[in-house]
Amino acid sequence: MITPLSDVALARRVAADIPDGSYVNLGIGLPTLVADVAGPDKEIVYHSENGILGMGPAPAPGTGDPELINAGKQPVTLLPGGCFFHHTDAFVMMRGGHIDVTVLGAFQVSERGDLANWMTDVDMHPPAVGGAMDLAVGARRVLVMTTHVTRDGRPKLLPACTYPLTAAAVVDRVYTDLAVLDVTPGGFLVREMAAGLTAGELQERTAARLSFAGDVGVLATA
């Protein structure tokens, strides 16, 4: 029986790959969970595109500073050692290669590491891009955290993206509820899989052709 990862278990798996001392930017949505599950054994400095380094957890209800919000517009706090700066400098950090790791959501990822996460082809809303393109081109390591398939079961890992790109050839590793996959010159290389899943079952849920590492690990579900 296949045991897909819960969002929290997935966040824990991503957090495990972030080295102590990293400067990290988490995309809005699912990736923000990573900060909640990262243990106190590592000192990680979280960056927000609106001019914050050293973000701490959400404030107790009713105590927040309404101006002190993260990129998702949720209230946050500042840790000792944190600081504020203006938007242009925030993007110097992002575009200039100073962010060690970013974790982003995705609509689609291609086997060459193209990322599509800002616009689908059926979007009835006005387009909105925010800081995703800057993060995708600028962070030293781009991690994608997503469900393996869409809600209606279509694969997100493709030979080529069909939605408009956020950036080309930038994704280093993809974490899904079913697998951890590296983007390599030979395409997606599966490193770990959910318990109970076979290689064939994973390939069925993936439009891109998969390779498998010699020692594929099993993803922890908690």
Partner: protein, 222 residues
Amino acid sequence: MIDKRVATLADAVAGISDGATVLIGGFGDSGVPVELVHALLDQGARDLTVVTNNAGSGERDVAALIRERRVRKIVCSYPRSAGSIWFETLWRAGEIELELVPQGTLSERMRAAGAGLGGFFTPTGADTLLAEGREIRVIGGRRHVFEAPLPGDVALIKAHRADRWGNLVYRTAARNFGPTMATAAALTVVQVDQFVELGELDPEAVVTPGIFVDRVVRVGAP
């Protein structure tokens, strides 16, 4: 004698012309110069190009400007939010023009205007549909897109404290686009919480030197 303090919000926005390009600070609800935008509503200028990160929410500030059909065009990175009803309504009806710019590029283009530069090449967005039909140059093996400066006729921003020379400090993440917009506009208008005496601001900690500021007005309780 230099004294950039003005007495009323009406004085602060006096002289803004129809057709002006207005840079408006803020990220979500943080750092938005709400009172200045409402003063601009009262002032009456029309056919505006508004440069701001989001397209307003609910019925206030930028959303109210849009609702009142005062905005011909909006230049922003993320017009979509939970309450961006007025922007979405007019956009669907073809009554407002949208220029979508990645957030870091938006900020950097305003900086280029303030810095007297003729434009720059950035990798952000170079492989996306936002770069279609634009000048692309491969630099260091990487595709870059040419971006032009984005100057304003007016900037409306929010800071925390000001002295009569117009030196500014901000508060937490409300700083966001303020320091950059202050450099990029022919007329920079600032609302602050407090006026302080000349010399009270730490010269090592002034964020926006007064040279970039034209008018400051105090809002809220004296």
